[in-house]
Symmetry: none
Subunit: 206 residues, 4 copies
Amino acid sequence: MKPSREARRIGVKEKADHDGRRHIILCEAARLFTLNGFQNTKLVDLADRLNVTKPTLYHYIESKEEIIHQVLTIGNERNASLVRQARDSSESGLGKLEIFLRGYARATVDDFGRCVILADPRMLSGRLREQHRQAYRYVLDEIADIIGEGIRDGSIRDCDPHLLTFALMGTFNSLSIWFHHEGKMTVEDVTEAFLGFFESAMAAKP
Amino acid sequence: MKPSREARRIGVKEKADHDGRRHIILCEAARLFTLNGFQNTKLVDLADRLNVTKPTLYHYIESKEEIIHQVLTIGNERNASLVRQARDSSESGLGKLEIFLRGYARATVDDFGRCVILADPRMLSGRLREQHRQAYRYVLDEIADIIGEGIRDGSIRDCDPHLLTFALMGTFNSLSIWFHHEGKMTVEDVTEAFLGFFESAMAAKP
Amino acid sequence: MKPSREARRIGVKEKADHDGRRHIILCEAARLFTLNGFQNTKLVDLADRLNVTKPTLYHYIESKEEIIHQVLTIGNERNASLVRQARDSSESGLGKLEIFLRGYARATVDDFGRCVILADPRMLSGRLREQHRQAYRYVLDEIADIIGEGIRDGSIRDCDPHLLTFALMGTFNSLSIWFHHEGKMTVEDVTEAFLGFFESAMAAKP
Amino acid sequence: MKPSREARRIGVKEKADHDGRRHIILCEAARLFTLNGFQNTKLVDLADRLNVTKPTLYHYIESKEEIIHQVLTIGNERNASLVRQARDSSESGLGKLEIFLRGYARATVDDFGRCVILADPRMLSGRLREQHRQAYRYVLDEIADIIGEGIRDGSIRDCDPHLLTFALMGTFNSLSIWFHHEGKMTVEDVTEAFLGFFESAMAAKP
DNA sequence: TATGAATGAGACTTCATTCAT
DNA sequence: AATGAATGAAGTCTCATTCAT
């Protein structure tokens, strides 16, 4: 009835240490969360996928909530890193925006990125929820800042930076729902098409 | 012996009949679902908001799943109706697209529309899940059709209709997350701004 | 969703008075109890069969338990009456026994008789349960008495009267489970066959 | 904080393994079912008797229905085994019948056997109900076959084999209701008396 | 008399989490 | 480190019964 539990346990072949195993757990969790949804993913499902039993998970994590939190943190931090990368480049505002979006597009279609977009933060309690909200808002604010910079430097047409942020993020976030790696388009294809749609919005008027 | 449970039960003031009360339940459910998430909304929460006890709900609905299903159905049907309205107009492809989007924008910010966008259909079992997926896909396909029509009639610039659909829907769907009626912009304001962002995508090249 | 509730309500055509309607309820209850079992029969099922609503039943009965109790009482009283009929005849012990069994056989295949045999008295609470147990025991004791009389008057072979009672009652009670009126044998046919099986037990040794 | 729940949990003294504990649960369930009836037996009652909490039961069984089903299956299988034992012996038809009945009598007075006789299969849903009905019918048909064999080999008087089956089974089944191990007669005593009652039915005419 | 609405009590079941080995 | 066993808390749903009209 239960899948036999021999062999390939967490990291047996990977010779992973405690932290390595913890990371494997988070990866598998992110995968299951995007596959089946968060609330529909039971700890026992996660354990099964890792060929261990439920209590074993508790050697590496403190609670289900922590798993979600960690997964989101990983995703958030990568997004923040993408923001910094763009901001720290020497491009124009428009250039920075495109740098970010090209990176973000790729982020939306891996498990951690998808979780950040699809996870309902209301499943987290108090402090953690707020932490995640702020991390997401940080990205939005930075993008709006970059857009503002683009408007000032003339590379982006005048507009409400927050609204353009929402439009862009909404557009690219949709990737996490419908994009499948097996499809005929690559993320890069879609990214360029999406950027094209916003051409007039993002290009300063001649 | 028990404190009498006076006053405002389901529809007492509205003098609603059975179907009317059922609708009130669905409205309140849609509200709670968007406020707190689906899985986080317990039947007792819903009952409390309606000043009744849990079992009372079962006079009007058969299960919690049915509530979600009905809420989604209401939202889906309105979306389908918006599609038909646009399609049946005598506008150009671009005109039809704008008619739909202006209507859809309003739909994304009421409770039923928000549920359609935010609900994770994986919480539904089998048949219902499929039904909802198809209803959503119907809208996407119709929009892509309208875009195709616009491309052919010259009102919309040549592009991949499905990608433009995803971009537009992603953009407008984001309203359901961040838009609040108490803010300083109206949905209509935002809609026009959003349409402006896509100007070059949607307007045929001169 | 619910069967329309017009026309033929309880006793509309029968012009039955309160007690008459009450009896109709008990008959229908007995029928449902034998059809579907006691615990599986919901009051709403009973009400539906009578084309009334649940609360209406409470004009005629006080509780579900009372229905069962009344049904059992009717069955018990008929059994007691059969016992008296046999006992008061001027036959030999064997004759009386046969008179009872021929009557009892018919009783086991109508709804009230079936309920007496098949109802689990543990569903009744305290006093009523005891009352029903005693009524059933009364029949057993009387039959054993009649057998004792037959042994003394030489019409029945010497044996343990209570054991023979159990054997006979077990045999005839089985009718309530397997006998169907649509079958090819009548109750009377079966009765005679059953009596034949016990010929040596019930006939005194030559 | 809570009074520790020491001592005799499921199988603590018996050092039972998982399957052993599962069997202990079924035994206790069978006991409670015969004591209090099926529907009246709550899972919490069962858990209490085993000094565990309700959820613990779900380590061993999937649902309450499964418990009943398993209990009935155990009883059915023993009955089938009794049938085979009788059929495979080298006795005459009558001899085989007596072998079965002597075994069956003992089966009727243990918890599993009682459940088979007293359980209302209508509490089971669809497939399981049918499965149990067929298992019971299998026994009846085999007994009728054995009786037919007895009639042909001259060891049993000519009669309707199915009717005799019903009479015998009805008689012996009654044991499950009235027989108590504390009484002054043993099952074997009663069995011989019962067989005696059917002497003329079962012995071929001289 | 009859009923739509409402409910209290309680059942089964699930699942994240802890305990003891 | 790992696990089988156990559990507390909670959620959905059922149903006999009462209330108010």
